[in-house]
C-alpha cells in the first residue's frame, strides 16, 4: 500500500509546487513539468496495474487544475506510462543523457498528442496552434529533460530507502 500512497502524495506535492512556486512569470516557457518526470519514472519502475492507476490519478489531477476542459491529461499520462513500460526493457537507461533524452522525447510526444486532440475536439477552428510547439512545448520539454536525471536519481534513492527488500542470505539457505 505504501508503494501506491507514496507516489500519490508525491504527485500532489509536485502539482502544488508546479502551480505555485514554478508559476513564476519569468520562467513561464521553461517551466519544467515535474509530474511528467514522476509518471515516466513510475512507467520504468512500477508494476503495470498499480502504476497505471497512479498515472491515471496524476493525469486526472493535472486536468483538474488546468484550463484544459477536455480531460486530455488523464488520457495522455496513462498513454505515457504504458509507453515507458513498453520501452523500459528495450533501451539503455542507466546514464543521465539517456534518461534526459527519454523524458524529452516523451514530453514532446505528449505535447504532440495534446495538440492533435485539442485540434480534433475543439468545435471552433483554432488559429496559430502549431507555432506553440516551438514556442512553448519545445522549451518546456527541454527544461523538463534537463532536470529529469536528478529526479530519477532522487526517486531511486528514495525508493531504496522506503521500500527495503529483505536480502536473501545464501549461507542460511544452504
Amino acid at each position: 500500500m505504501r508503494r501506491i500512497l507514496f507516489p500519490l502524495f508525491l504527485g500532489v506535492f509536485f502539482l502544488t509546487f508546479q502551480t505555485t512556486w514554478l508559476a513564476f512569470p519569468l520562467i513561464q516557457r521553461f517551466r519544467p513539468d515535474l509530474v511528467i518526470i514522476l509518471t515516466l519514472y513510475l512507467g520504468l519502475s512500477y508494476p503495470p496495474i498499480s502504476g497505471g492507476m497512479i498515472a491515471f490519478f496524476l493525469g486526472y489531477s493535472m486536468d483538474l487544475f488546468s484550463g484544459n476542459g477536455f480531460g486530455l491529461f488523464t488520457f495522455s499520462r496513462v498513454l505515457l506510462f504504458y509507453g515507458a513500460q513498453f520501452f523500459k526493457d528495450r533501451i539503455y537507461l542507466e546514464s543521465s543523457p539517456s534518461q534526459a533524452l527519454l523524458v524529452f522525447l516523451f514530453a514532446l510526444s505528449e505535447a504532440f498528442v495534446i495538440m492533435l486532440l485539442l485540434k480534433a475536439l475543439n468545435p471552433e477552428h483554432l488559429r496559430n496552434l502549431y507555432p506553440l510547439f516551438f514556442t512553448v512545448f519545445l522549451p518546456q520539454s527541454f527544461s523538463t529533460a534537463l532536470i529529469a536525471p536528478v529526479f530519477f536519481h532522487l526517486f531511486r534513492k528514495g525508493s531504496s530507502l522506503l521500500f527495503v527488500h529483505p536480502r536473501i542470505e545464501a549461507g542460511k539457505k544452504g
Binding site: 502551480t19 509530474v35 496495474i49 498499480s50 491515471f56 483538474l64 476542459g69 504504458y82
Partner: protein, 295 residues
Amino acid sequence: MRIRDFFLFRRYTLYAVILLLLTAVVLMSLRVKERKGVNFMDALLLEICSPFQKASTFVVQEIQETFKKYLILGHLREENEMLKKRIADLQMENYQMKETVMSSERLQRLLQFREKIAPAMIAAEVIGQDPTSWFKSITINKGERDGIRKGMAVISPEGVIGQILKTSPRHSVVLLITDYNSAIDAIVRRTRAKAIVEGRGENRCLLKYLLRAEDVMVGDRVVTSGLSGNFPKGMMIGEIEKVDKKGLGIFQHAELVPSANFTKLEEVLIIKEFPLPPQEEKRKEEQGKKAKGKK
C-alpha cells in the same frame, strides 16, 4: 486473492491497460459533450489538493514580500522624489477628472438613466496557477459555498479576467481569457464594432468575426458587449495591438493585449449578479410576459 497480489499480477495487465485508457476516453468524451466531468470526483480532489496550494502560495507571497521590502529600502530615496513629482501630476489630473465626472453625472441625469446599482460581487484570492504552460487558468479560494457557479464572470480592477470553469465547495478554477478555450462577446469601444474575443495563450487574445468593413485600428479599446449574459456591458477587456486585413473573406482579424496583468494576479472579483441596462431589462420583462401568456 490478496490485494497486493492483484496489483502485481501481470495476467491482468492487458485488461488494465484497456480499462484505464477506455475510462480516460469516456471521461474525455463526457467532458467534450457536456462540458463537465465527474463533478463529485472533481470537487473532492479540488478540496484535497487546494489547501496545499493555499499554504504554498502563502509561503511564496511571504518570501516575495520580504524580498520586495528589501529592494524598496534600497531605492527609497529615488522613489520618494519620483513620487513627489507624481503627486503633483496626479493632483492636476484629479481636478480634471472631477470636472469630467461632474459633467458626466449631469449628462446621465439628462438622459434619465436609472440609478446604477453596484453588481453583487465576491472577492477571492488566487491560490494557484495552471500546472502547464499551454493552458491558462487560476485556482481561487472561493467555491459553491460562497455562491459561486460555473460560468460566472471573473474580473479585476484592470479588466476582465475570465470565467469560472470548475467548482468545488470551497475552491474554483477560473479559465482565463487568454486560454484557447475561452471566448467572450465584445465590442470595440470607439466604433461599436462587434466581435468575439478568443484566447491565444501567451498573454494575447484574438478578435474574431470582426467585419472587414469595420474601422478598427491599433490602440482601440475593446469592452464586453453584455450579450453573453455573464459579463455586464462595458467592462474593459484590452487594447488592440495588431490589425490583420490580409487574406480574403468578410472578416478581418485583430490581436488584443488584455488590460489585466495575469502574471501579477493576487485578488479577483466574481460577479454573481449585475443589473441589466434599461432596454434589455424591458425586453426581458416583455419576453417573460409573452412566455406566461402562451402558457
